[in-house]
């Protein structure tokens, strides 16, 4: 999946807009987001929802991977405690979230960039409210965009890399 076109707006836009990756459980929060849609409860277009069956499926690796690929924030939405479609998958999510938050703090990622929210299937309004709130908070924090930071970090490798490549070319001649 290398050659991606660059005709997209985000890639060229000067104005930074936060991107939030959201993992929503199928039964509560994803359905609530559907409800928000049906009821036309508008919210900021900065969120990208990835559906999982249960918030318990959200591997902390997914959260880190989203950050590493450039997300400015990650939102996890699950059923309210006691209401989990899978009895208590959301409790596992809650525990992981508490530890992950500590890890992220130590790695310099602000607390507001990871949010866990219990949103029941009927709470369309809460979807809209949560997303708007989070977008606003993350906007105030500014870009995280690790994908770009990684490139900056690795810029220091460029000169030697180029040198090595040119030597290879010479060697092949």
């Amino acid at each position: 999946m290398e050659d991606r076109p660059v005709s997209d707006k985000l890639s060229t836009s000067v104005q930074w807009e936060p991107i939030i990756v959201a993992f929503f459980c199928n039964w509560c929060t994803y359905t609530a987001a559907d409800l928000a849609g049906v009821a036309r409860m508008g919210y900021d277009p900065n969120v990208r929802v990835i559906r999982v069956m249960c918030s318990g499926r959200v591997d902390p690796q997914f959260v880190l991977d989203a950050f590493a690929h450039g997300a400015d924030g990650v939102l996890i939405g699950g059923c309210h405690p006691g209401d989990c479609h899978y009895v208590e998958g959301n409790y596992k999510t809650l525990r992981r979230y508490h530890l992950l938050r500590r890890l992220l703090r130590d790695l310099g990622i602000e607390e507001q960039r990871l949010r866990l929210e219990w949103i029941a299937a009927s709470e369309g309004e809460k979807v809209s409210k949560t997303i708007n709130e989070m977008v606003e908070q993350v906007r105030a924090l500014g870009p995280l965009r690790l994908s770009r930071r990684f490139k900056e970090w690795d810029a220091e490798l460029a000169s030697l890399e180029a040198e090595a490549q040119s030597e290879e070319v010479v060697a092949h001649v």
């Binding site: 690796q61 525990r95 992981r96 530890l99 130590d106 310099g108 990622i109 040198e163």
Partner: protein, 322 residues
């Protein structure tokens, strides 16, 4: 020179333990030495960089590089050895996943230099002199390698063919690897030359691990009398075993210390720390946020605990706001 296959060893940011592990082959090293020509091994033999530079590209069958990459000189050597070798092997945790040195990725270059040259308790440096990359002395330009902003694993700098994990790798794995190389029957590129299951698979204490850990407390090893028979996790001591590749023959565990994760994750895992975090947190026996927090307080340094050997290769690579 003979037409025996040529092998090289090199070290970058490492403690020397990996070099020791080569010597730990003991008499087997003779067997290896008979089968190959060691053409470069700065720790043990008197070859110079220019000797390597003089070789045709691809002249070395395999180079085993240990240590992580922190300086421009290490980068240069990595590029050079990459070019001269048919096969480049990341040897040991540091080359494989960044190792302990990559925990320095929690700090800026400035923080590190300031501490090391100015603030460390054993340092007396009233003029706050720091080594400079370039320095004129008696009309001669003296240069030092650049100190990079990040510690990197070998494969973050050059292409790597195989990995030998461990801090250090075991002689058994090394011997197997060398024999594999000599056999010509090579595994797919990128293979980690160790089993692809987690530690528990080979752990002598496996049977004592209860089905439900129901963790109510995390203890540090030095806070407690460790039962020499019982699963560490069952004792509330963090053991990286479930998230760490096996192949080390459970040496730490046999020495009554928990696994700290030096073999890195299995192939299926992108981030060793996140995975052990997920497994441990899932097993915590609490439902209320306050109770959960209280238990998590027992993990005093999540980064140092979960990424002791793998911060450079973790998904976030470093403290992002250094």
């Amino acid at each position: 020179m003979s037409d025996k296959p040529k092998i090289a060893f090199y070290w970058c940011a490492s403690c020397g333990g990996c070099e020791e592990s080569i010597v730990d082959l003991a008499e087997d090293i003779l067997e290896v030495a008979q089968a190959v020509d060691i053409v470069f091994w700065p720790v043990a033999m008197d070859f110079k960089r220019k000797d390597v530079e003089a070789m045709p590209d691809g002249a070395i069958l395999a180079t085993l590089v240990n240590g992580s990459i922190r300086t421009s000189e290490q980068e240069e050597m990595a590029h050079l050895l990459r070019r001269k070798s048919q096969i480049l092997i990341a040897y040991g945790s540091c080359a494989h996943t960044g190792g302990v040195p990559s925990l320095a990725n929690q700090f800026t270059r400035e923080e590190i230099l300031r501490y090391v040259y100015e603030e460390a308790p054993s340092v007396v440096n009233e003029n706050r002199v720091r080594p400079q990359p370039r320095h004129g002395h008696n009309g001669t330009a003296v240069t030092l390698p650049e100190f990079r902003g990040l510690v990197r694993s070998l494969d973050q700098v050059v292409e790597v063919d195989y990995y030998l994990p461990g801090c250090p790798p075991t002689p058994k794995l090394l011997k197997q690897a060398v024999l594999t190389l000599l056999s010509g029957n090579l595994p797919p590129k990128g293979t980690v030359l160790a089993p692809d299951t987690a530690q528990c698979d080979q752990c002598p204490r496996k049977e004592t691990k209860p089905v439900d850990l129901k963790i109510t407390e995390f203890k540090r090893p030095h806070w407690t009398q460790i039962d020499p028979e019982k699963c560490f996790l069952a004792q509330g001591i963090i053991c990286m075993g479930p998230a760490t590749r096996s192949g080390c023959e459970a040496q730490c565990i046999r020495g009554n210390m928990p696994c700290t994760g030096c073999f890195g994750p299995t192939t299926r895992v992108r981030d060793q720390g996140a995975k052990i975090l997920s497994a441990l947190a899932s097993s915590v026996n609490a439902r209320e946020p306050e109770d959960i927090e209280k238990i998590m307080d027992g993990i005093v340094d999540p980064v140092g605990t979960f990424y002791r050997y793998s911060l450079a290769k973790s998904l976030l690579r470093a403290k992002v706001t250094r």
